[in-house]
Structures are given as structure tokens and as C-alpha cells.
Symmetry: none
Subunit: 129 residues, 2 copies
Amino acid sequence: MSVVSFDRFSITGESPIYLQILRYVQRGIVAGTIADGEELPSRRVLSALLGVNPNTVQKAYRLLEEEGLAVSHPGAKSYVSFTTEQLSAIRIQLTEDSARRAVESMREMGVSLEEAEALLRRLWKEEAP
Amino acid sequence: MSVVSFDRFSITGESPIYLQILRYVQRGIVAGTIADGEELPSRRVLSALLGVNPNTVQKAYRLLEEEGLAVSHPGAKSYVSFTTEQLSAIRIQLTEDSARRAVESMREMGVSLEEAEALLRRLWKEEAP
DNA sequence: CAAACTGTACTACTTGACTAATACGGCTCC
DNA sequence: GGAGCCGTATTAGTCAAGTAGTACAGTTTG
């Protein structure tokens, strides 16, 4: 099985490195570019590639394992591992669920749909890379 | 003019104290319980009431002034001051955190702005009374 | 088996956010 | 005009997050 590629990954300094690594893998899983069973680069290899400390990568991998998206065993390689149920769960969790909370919050505050749309476009532009 | 009451305010430790004070006033303004021109408790009085340092209150008041919701002059009392145009801006800002998380998630999942707008309108109608 | 990898645990350093302590100068009102 | 308020600036302490350095133990592979 192939190894997860981090060629399209770069550190931006806008958020903690370990979170950027975590989101990169999550995004890859949902986008289909990272498949179930794929091998993850070792902590040392990836840390050397990114120029950070192995523990920073370890933190990201530990979070992945806590979410059930990867499996790790002492001394052995780590692998991406998820079920189709988890995939849809992640998709919902990361998109519609957060959007629903935002909508609910805005409605409680009396924000109009037009204001919400304006806010959406503004935030979308702000978060652009 | 009456003084802004903090009787219904209590520190929860879930977020910085100065932000809790800021949001309390913002919510009060949006809810209509705090009117334009009302007098704010002095930094020292409110800090003694809450059991925190005057500078913590000062930080909240300074943010209020930066947002144009209060006016302060050296040696004089501070007052709440806002226009009707600012009301909608406050409502949007109070929900901006959840909205920002939603936008961030959708961007990570590769959702386009158009799809996000469609999702927003759909969720908006679903939550309608 | 042994070398070279692997994951993991522990400690330490750096940095920024948050809060506190203190001091200074301006307004107000008797 | 002076006592007692007021807002403000400056400095310092506290704490957690993030990252780094190092060491230990297990697995793989030749």
C-alpha cells in the first residue's frame, strides 16, 4: 500500500503546525486522495521533511488515532484507518453540523438571512489563502 | 441617566474575564436592556464588584470604545454610546465565531462559496419556525 | 541475532495571552 | 483649592499552549 504524500502540504504559521497536519489528513480522507489502509510517514521522516520536531507530528498523529482515523502500534508503522460510516460522519461533522450551529446562533441573535449571506462572503474572503 | 447594572453578570472561567464583560454589554445592547447614553460603572467600582483587577475591566471598556459602543475621557465617567447602524454589526459579530468555524470547515472540505450559500439558505429555511 | 527503523514518554524551553500591581494626571464638586 | 473620584499608562507576574530535546522500548528486516 502506498504512503500518504505530503507533497502538497506547507506550513503557513496561521495555526499550530500539529493542527495543520491533522486537517491536511482529514481533508485528504474526505476528498478521497487518502485511502483507507494507506501508510503514514513515520514521525521522524515527516518531521524532517517539514523541518519540525518529531513530537509535533506525534501530536497530530495521536489526535488522528483518537478520532479513529489512524492506527499506531509501538515499533510498527502507522496506517490510515477509517470506515465508510466514519467518512460520512466526518463529512457531516465538519460541514453541515458546524453550519447548522452557526445558523442557529445567528437566528437567535436576530440576524437576517441577507446579513448572514454577507457575513458568509466576508468570512470566506478573509479565510482565503 | 441610569447606570448599567451588572447584577445579572457572573464570571464563569470558560473564557477571559474581559471578554465576558464585553459580551455582557454587547448582549445587553442587542437585547435592549442597555440603552444609549447609559453610564458605565467606573473601572474601580466594577472591578471591586467582580473581584478582579481594574485593568481587566479597563481592557473590556477599551474594546467597547474601539468598537464605538462606549465613550471615555480621562478623569470623566464613561458612557454607553451606539447608533442604530451598529446594532446589526454587533449581532453579526456575536455570531461570527460560530460562523467562522463553519466557514473554515467548509473550506477544508472543498465546498465552494456557491455551495456554501446554498447550504446556508437550506439550513435557514429548515430552522424556520 | 543485530542494525535500523518504528512509536511513545518525559522533561524543558519559548512565547503569548491574561491578569495584577502600581503610579500618574485629569475632572468634579463641596 | 483640595479631597476623592475618574481614565490611562507602564511594568511585572502567572499560566497554558506549542514546540523542541532526549531517552526508552518494541518491531521489522537483512
